[in-house]
């Protein structure tokens, strides 16, 4: 399932990484924030929206270590964020899609406004296809469901593909086999 997910997600321009453990995934994110030069300045923030994976993580220490990394998401901060991190609920293998209940507004702001969106995904939540996903998510429980397949794109000018028109330019999917924080 993961292999198909990765192939389909990469085919639409998503970046897919897979780690055995939560610790390795966190390491990757730290490195990523360094590489992206996250700073405590508008345009360079990194925001981490409320995520189950953060349970047991010393967020204060992390925030101290990476000035500019914040664990709150407001409109003002999201507007000036370079990177936002959210934890999504499901993956769809045959389209390379990630799915999230984004009823909470911080999740929506974090996924929609920055240049880079990092989506954390438990590898074991990847399902085969859309019908399989729709049997797991339902409007009666999930008020605002977002399915995301690749970065924001448009071909409205001369049918030429352009990335990052209103939403993120990069969608980085971090799959974790033992997340210990499955939603």
């Amino acid at each position: 399932m993961f292999t198909q997910f990765k192939v389909k997600a990469e085919a639409v321009g998503s970046e897919v990484h897979r780690f055995d453990t939560k610790a390795e995934a966190l390491d990757f994110i730290e490195k990523f924030l360094k590489e992206e030069n996250i700073k405590d300045a508008p345009g360079s923030f990194a925001l981490w929206a409320d995520s189950p994976i953060l349970k047991g993580v010393d967020t204060k220490a992390l925030a101290k270590k990476y000035p500019g990394l914040k664990f709150e998401v407001t409109r003002k901060l999201a507007k000036d964020a370079k990177v936002c991190i959210t934890q999504v609920d499901w993956g769809i293998a045959n389209t390379g899609t990630v799915a999230q209940d984004s009823t909470a507004v911080d999740q929506r702001l974090a996924a929609a406004l920055p240049w880079i969106h990092i989506a954390l995904l438990s590898t074991d939540t990847i399902v085969a296809d859309l019908p399989a996903l729709m049997s797991r998510m339902h409007p009666s429980r999930n008020r605002y469901i977002t399915l995301t397949t690749g970065p924001s794109r448009t071909a409205d000018i001369e049918r030429v593909l352009a990335i990052g028109v209103h939403g993120p330019e990069r969608l980085v999917i971090v799959c974790i086999d033992e997340s210990g924080g499955k939603k």
Partner: protein, 708 residues
């Protein structure tokens, strides 16, 4: 056709940006790749069933939707009137002090010219879908409803953006997109109210689904504190799972993607970022949709999922773009929607753009018979207003073979000064347009029914009746001769029932179904008279009539008593190549040994492939006798003949022909074959006029001498 309309076509033909863009996209190939591994027929049958069910239960579903959405805290407003929609939104704006609105794409709002209304009330509404924003800046209407600004070049768009941001910009598309992001981001953040459309509305749960690639719908439904979703009633489906086939097909058909970047399912208000709850209003707009649902024919059009694939494959849309359609919805389905959302009369000109090639019907994910419905518009217009006198009298003449014959004899004599080698290359004065890009065929000195009498055939128990059709009778009698010769080789004796006349397709195609039914009635008896084994036609257009349309036409015109006979005839009717292929397979026809014949390419006539369903058979038969088949690009795209279309829309017909000729030439074949005399007239005329070495031949001519 009004002069103004002819002018607008002429103007559109000068601007071929859109054709170039569609060519670079190569939609048919990209689409096919997106659908790899998917049973498209099964998928579209599901969509047709679920949307068809919804169309039958619009009122019930709207009520269920309202209840479900209201129970989640949304406010739902149902109305049939566009004015009431506009009033509702302006009142809401006044009440809440809204000055700035951001919109994600909503064709329903375009349909009622909402932006104009808001502007008149001092409310600034900015489109945020890139294409919609571009046409808003250009003060235009969408030319394509999935990609609204497809007709504009990057240079034109750069000019528009430069004016908007007050500084000169480059033509680089990536940079232009970033400018749009920056400009529109400010608008998102400052807007008081967001207006979205919906791709699907689920009655069971009160959910609206939006599908965007850019992500603008997420911002429109998240950043402003008030959200108004303007939803056409046809977006309703009964149940949550009904969304599955639609969401599966829409991205593939619309933009050849497996999935659109963002799909959002919103059920009731969600929190705003200031802690308040969203003020969510959902407007269910009828505007003639219920009326449409009550029409037994047009109900089908409500199965549309607005993918616009019918535009992408249309040979006419490719040439003229969207603006000649004159209203918001463009292309094939647009013509149908305009007939209802505006009025029937407003489609008087644009219905004539459809050549009836059937390409769109093949790929429609809603399984809508788009050309059939446009023909129905034509029929209703003809019934209401009558056909123009010239057409009506011409069609009457065709139905009367004796009179037709006399007139054509006169024409044969009159053509003499212009004819040479079987072609008319120049015509004087106002007729010159007809022979500008294509030589015209001459009328044969001896019509087929006279020629037939001189053919000596061996008597046989197996008999076939030959239905020649007008073109073989008067223009290509030699094709008829070849048909007889080949069938004789298989031990079949060919009869030529004298009472036959025109098959009625010209009448049918003009919307004169009553005259088409008369034509059917006139022909059935003589064709069935001798209890023949086969009724053979070598004309794809006649095959459409005999094999498929006659029973329907007779039924529609209350001539039910003839329907069983028409069905009997349909079951007996075969196209020439279909029969030959069968006879080869049954070893009743044996190709001569060891023949390596010329390289040929095969053009699928629209009637043969998409109406009669015959396209494998001629290829099999022609290669069996030794021809080398070299397929052309777009082998089943219309050549532009379309019967009277070539006379009514000469400019479009010639453009289609030009493209076809180019595709034929690139194969390097010696012959192009088609089992349709209409196509042969067009192709042979075009090849002659362009001094090509390639000859257009009927399969019967190519196979005449090829059997033992």
């Amino acid at each position: 056709m009004t002069k103004q309309f002819t002018k607008s076509i002429h103007k559109a033909l000068k601007n071929q940006n859109l054709a170039g863009i569609l060519d670079r996209w190569n939609y048919p190939t990209a689409r096919a790749k997106a659908y790899e591994g998917i049973d498209f027929e099964a998928l579209r049958t599901q969509i047709a069933e679920r949307k068809g069910y919804a169309a039958d239960h619009l009122d019930d579903l709207a009520e269920r939707f309202k209840k479900a959405a209201e129970s989640r805290g949304a406010k739902v407003f149902r109305t049939s009137s566009p004015q009431a929609v506009k009033d509702y939104i302006t009142n809401l704006c006044k009440e809440k002090g809204v000055k700035k609105v951001v919109k994600s794409k909503s064709m329903a709002s375009e349909e009622i010219h909402l932006n104009k209304h808001l502007a008149e009330n001092g409310i600034q509404a900015d489109e945020t879908d890139l294409g919609e924003w571009i046409i808003q800046l250009a003060h235009q209407t969408p030319s394509h409803f999935a990609m609204p600004a497809l007709h504009l070049t990057k240079e034109e768009i750069s000019d528009l953006f430069s004016k908007e941001v007050n500084k000169p910009l480059s033509n680089d598309i990536q940079q232009l997109v970033k400018i749009a992001r920056k400009e529109l981001r400010e608008k998102f953040l400052n807007a008081d109210l967001g207006i979205s459309g919906a791709n699907i509305a689920i009655a069971e749960t009160g959910t609206i689904i939006t599908v965007t690639n850019e992500g603008n719908a997420r911002l429109v439904t998240t950043l402003p504190k008030i959200h108004v979703a303007l939803v056409g009633l046809e977006k309703l489906v009964a149940n949550y799972t009904d969304a599955i086939p639609i969401l599966t097909a829409l991205p593939k058909s619309a933009t050849s993607q497996l999935m659109t970047s963002y799909v959002t399912l919103i059920t009731g208000p969600t929190p705003n970022d200031d802690g308040s709850m969203k003020d969510l209003h959902i407007i269910l707009m009828d505007n003639k949709r219920t009326e449409m649902a009550k029409d037994p024919k047009f109900k089908e059009a409500l199965q549309c999922i607005r993918c616009a694939s019918c535009l992408n494959v249309c040979p006419v849309y490719r040439l003229v773009g969207g603006h000649v359609f004159g209203h918001i919805y463009t292309g094939g389905i647009g013509t149908i929607l305009t007939a209802w959302f505006n009025e029937l009369k407003s489609t008087e000109d644009i219905q004539g753009l459809c050549i009836g090639c059937g390409k769109c019907k093949e790929i429609c994910p809603g399984k809508i018979d788009i050309p059939g419905l446009i023909l129905e518009i034509r029929r209703r217009l003809a019934a209401k207003q009558g056909l123009p006198f010239v057409y009506k009298s011409a069609l009457s003449v065709i139905n009367n073979r004796k009179l037709f014959h006399t007139m054509l004899r006169a024409a044969f004599l009159a053509q003499k000064p212009f004819a040479k080698d079987g072609f008319i290359r120049h015509l004087p004065m106002f007729l010159s347009g007809l022979s500008e890009y294509r030589s015209l065929p001459t009328i044969a000195p001896v019509p087929f029914h006279d020629l037939f009498k001189k053919i000596k055939q061996p008597a046989s128990k197996t008999k076939a009746a030959f239905f020649s059709g007008c073109a073989i009778e008067f223009v290509f009698p030699k094709i008829g001769e070849a048909v007889v010769k080949v069938l004789n080789k298989a031990g079949i004796e060919v009869l030529f029932p004298e009472g036959q006349s025109c098959c009625g397709i010209p009448h049918w195609g003009s919307g004169a179904f009553d005259m088409a039914a008369l034509a059917a009635a006139h022909n059935i008896k003589p064709l069935l008279e001798n209890d023949v084994q086969y009724v053979v036609t070598a004309c794809a257009t006649c095959a459409t009539a005999l094999k498929k349309e006659w029973p329907h036409v007779l039924q529609g015109e209350n001539m039910d008593n003839l329907v069983p006979e028409a069905e009997k005839l349909a079951a007996k009717t075969v196209m020439f190549s279909e029969l030959v292929n069968k006879l080869i397979e049954e070893r009743k026809l044996t190709p001569k040994d060891g023949q390596q014949l010329a390289k040929i390419t095969y053009h699928d006539s629209c009637h043969a492939k998409r109406h009669a369903g015959i396209y494998k058979e001629p290829r099999a038969a022609l290669t069996a006798v030794g021809y080398e088949l070299k397929e052309m690009f777009e082998n089943d795209t219309c050549c532009g003949m379309g019967g009277s279309y070539t006379v009514k829309q000469p400019e479009l017909s010639m453009r289609m022909l030009k493209r076809k000729l180019k595709n034929i030439e690139s194969t390097g074949a010696e012959y192009v074959s088609a089992e349709c005399p209409g196509c042969l007239i067009q192709l042979a005329g075009g090849l002659d006029k362009s001094s090509s070495k390639i000859k257009a031949k009927h399969p019967a001519e190519l196979m005449e001498e090829r059997f033992k």
